[in-house]
């Protein structure tokens, strides 16, 4: 595939990999000025997860034009499958994650066949319904712990050399998943399949006249877009040692993923990455900012990130629909070749 000959493909992966490996380099004293490697690792872990989620949402939303509001359902499903396998059958976490990913893709295919027949807003609403139904279901599903969820007996980490080693394994696994997601996103965009998806997004009926089978292409895209969040979920909950429906199927996170895609630029490879970084940094800044006192009222900005998300989303939707990267590509056509 000629993407492998494309410079920007390797460039993007390299940049992401380097940033992700900063804590490791700090640990090995290669970069002595980075002192807070542990915190950095934690922050980057979450950031990588968000990049994975946003890039995956971009495949079904940015390329195909189907806005998956409830996409987090695959994150939760992957998390639950893998958690169960690791805890009950002592399956290696990497294998369990893969199983979770495949399981999520299968479910996406089954659900996708009927649900992707819906257009636009109806599809978006249906995905919310699916996520909420899944969450309510897991709340009642006792084999998976019901409302209380499941949590690890710390002995689970022994086979990985202890909790700290397990955490490191999770970190590198997440890097791998993120890089795989970005690579897949790039490959799709530059492929015949991806061109078909873009055509579906622009005008589904016209794409049919041109010879594209939209039903098939959409389901494939949906299944691919479900795989990576499931892997990320599996790794995330393995590392945390606890999973419950409210966190696994957190609609808010899903929506934040959507905001990241719109912010950075839907339909591009780098857009979701940029959007995730900007949004995450903004949210961190808000959460850690000290309370503001206005007269007798003390306002804690830590919960303000939702408001900021809303404002950003509205501004993007009203004024810069293409998002940051999209705007750059439109304004400076020369950049198009490098900034996919």
């Amino acid at each position: 595939m000629r993407s492998f000959r494309n410079l920007s493909f390797w460039l993007i992966l390299l940049v992401v990999a380097l940033v992700a490996l900063l804590p490791t380099l700090a640990d090995s004293a290669a970069l002595p000025f980075l002192t807070n490697a542990a915190t950095m690792r934690e922050n980057l872990f979450l950031l990588l997860m968000l990049v994975t989620l946003a890039s995956s949402i971009n495949i079904i939303m940015g390329y195909t034009g189907y806005v998956s509001f409830g996409h987090i359902v695959f994150f939760g499903l992957g998390g639950y499958f893998a958690f169960y396998l690791v805890q009950t059958y002592s399956v290696n976490v990497l294998l369990a994650a893969l199983a979770g990913g495949i399981g999520a893709s299968l479910i996406a295919t089954l659900i996708g066949i009927p649900v992707l027949r819906l257009r636009g807003a109806y599809f978006a609403l249906a995905t919310i319904g699916i996520n909420e139904a899944m969450r309510a279901f897991m709340n009642n599903f006792d084999p998976f712990g019901g409302a209380l969820g499941m949590f690890f007996n710390y002995a689970v980490y022994d086979s990985y050399g202890g909790a700290k080693n397990a955490g490191e394994l999770a970190y590198y696994a997440m890097i791998a998943v993120t890089l795989a997601t970005i690579a897949t996103s790039f490959l799709i965009k530059k492929s015949k399949f991806g061109l078909g998806l873009l055509a579906i997004r622009e005008d589904q009926d016209a794409s049919q006249v041109l010879g594209i089978d939209p039903a098939r292409a959409k389901v494939i895209a949906y299944a691919i877009s479900a795989f990576f969040p499931a892997l990320a979920g599996a790794i995330f909950f393995f590392k945390n040692g606890i999973i419950e429906p409210g966190i696994a199927f957190d609609l808010q996170r899903s929506i934040e993923g959507l905001v990241m895609v719109m912010l950075g630029g839907y339909g591009t490879v780098t857009g979701p990455i940029v959007g995730a970084v900007v949004y995450d940094r903004l949210r961190s800044a808000l959460i850690t900012s000290p309370p503001i006192t206005l007269g007798s009222l003390t306002v804690n900005l830590s919960n303000f990130h939702l408001v900021v998300a809303g404002i950003l989303l509205l501004l993007v939707v009203l004024f810069v629909t293409a998002g940051f990267v999209g705007w750059l590509r439109n304004r400076f056509p020369a950049v198009r070749r490098f900034l996919e």
Binding site: K192, L195, L198, A206, S207, L210, I212
Partner: protein
């Protein structure tokens, strides 16, 4: 690329109803390979509906469509495309956020030959040259003007290397020079052995270009024959009496 059948397309007794409205009333016609077959008729006569039934946008309630000997009635549009039927739309449908080249590449990728991406891009470049859009190949399709969009629509259909090309009012909204340019392109297409069915309102164009003409009014055929025969047919003149310009043209011997 000549078909090995005496008829490329056969429409048998096709009727299409929308609720209470009978859009097509037992329409039958035959198109021979390599000819330019014109379809004319007043507004609302059912011409676009006929195209929609032929390429599978919706199935007829009654009747049969046979393409190169195969019954394709009700086959979905993408399957019709794979068999070699391409079409343009009356109101153009460019893939706006994609470049001109990408638009045409889609046609080449997913059309009859089902080409891989690199091959398709080569075909796209050839077709863009054929229709004269090479200079704009990296422009976003949404930024083109009407005439260019029509040429893009045509290029996209051609990139699929169709056997049968359905053109729906491809000259509407063009100024005389643009019309002349488009007519040249259509003739070039016919020279490549592509069979063309064209719906047109521009009388002098369709009468000049077509080998045979079919006239629809209120969903039913009212005349069929050579351009000469049709323009002298009193039923046709009467159908167009609502359009005095056209009627006058007929009376004066159009063409």
């Amino acid at each position: 690329m000549t078909a090995s059948h005496s008829k490329i397309l056969q429409v048998d007794n096709v009727s299409k109803r929308f609720g209470g409205l009978l859009a097509l009333d037992r329409v039958s016609l035959t198109v021979a390979p390599g000819e330019i077959f014109g379809i004319i008729g007043p507004n609302g006569a059912g011409k676009t509906t006929l195209f929609n039934v032929i390429n599978g946008v919706y199935p007829p309630q009654q009747g049969r469509i046979t393409f190169r000997g195969e019954d394709i009635t009700g086959l979905s549009p993408f399957k019709a495309s794979h068999r070699g039927i391409a079409r343009t739309h009356q109101v153009v449908r460019p893939l706006g956020e994609l470049t001109v080249r990408e638009n045409v590449t889609v046609g080449a990728c997913y059309g009859r030959e089902n080409l891989p991406l690199e091959k398709a891009e080569q075909v796209a470049d050839e077709v863009l040259d054929f229709v004269g859009l090479t200079a704009r190949k990296d422009m976003l399709a949404s930024k083109l003007n009407v005439a260019q969009k029509k040429r893009l629509e045509m290029a996209r259909a051609l990139a699929a290397r169709p056997i049968l090309l359905l053109l729906d009012e491809v000259l509407a909204g063009l100024n005389p020079q643009e019309v002349a340019d488009m007519l040249t392109v259509i003739r070039k297409i016919r020279d490549q052995d592509v069979t063309i069915i064209m719906i047109e309102h521009l009388m002098h164009a369709v009468m000049n270009l077509s080998d045979r003409v079919f006239v629809l009014d209120y969903g039913a055929k009212i005349a069929e024959g050579t351009p000469q025969e049709v323009s002298n047919d009193p039923r046709v003149i009467e159908a167009y009496l609502g359009d005095p310009q056209v009627a006058r043209r007929f009376m004066e011997g159009a063409g």
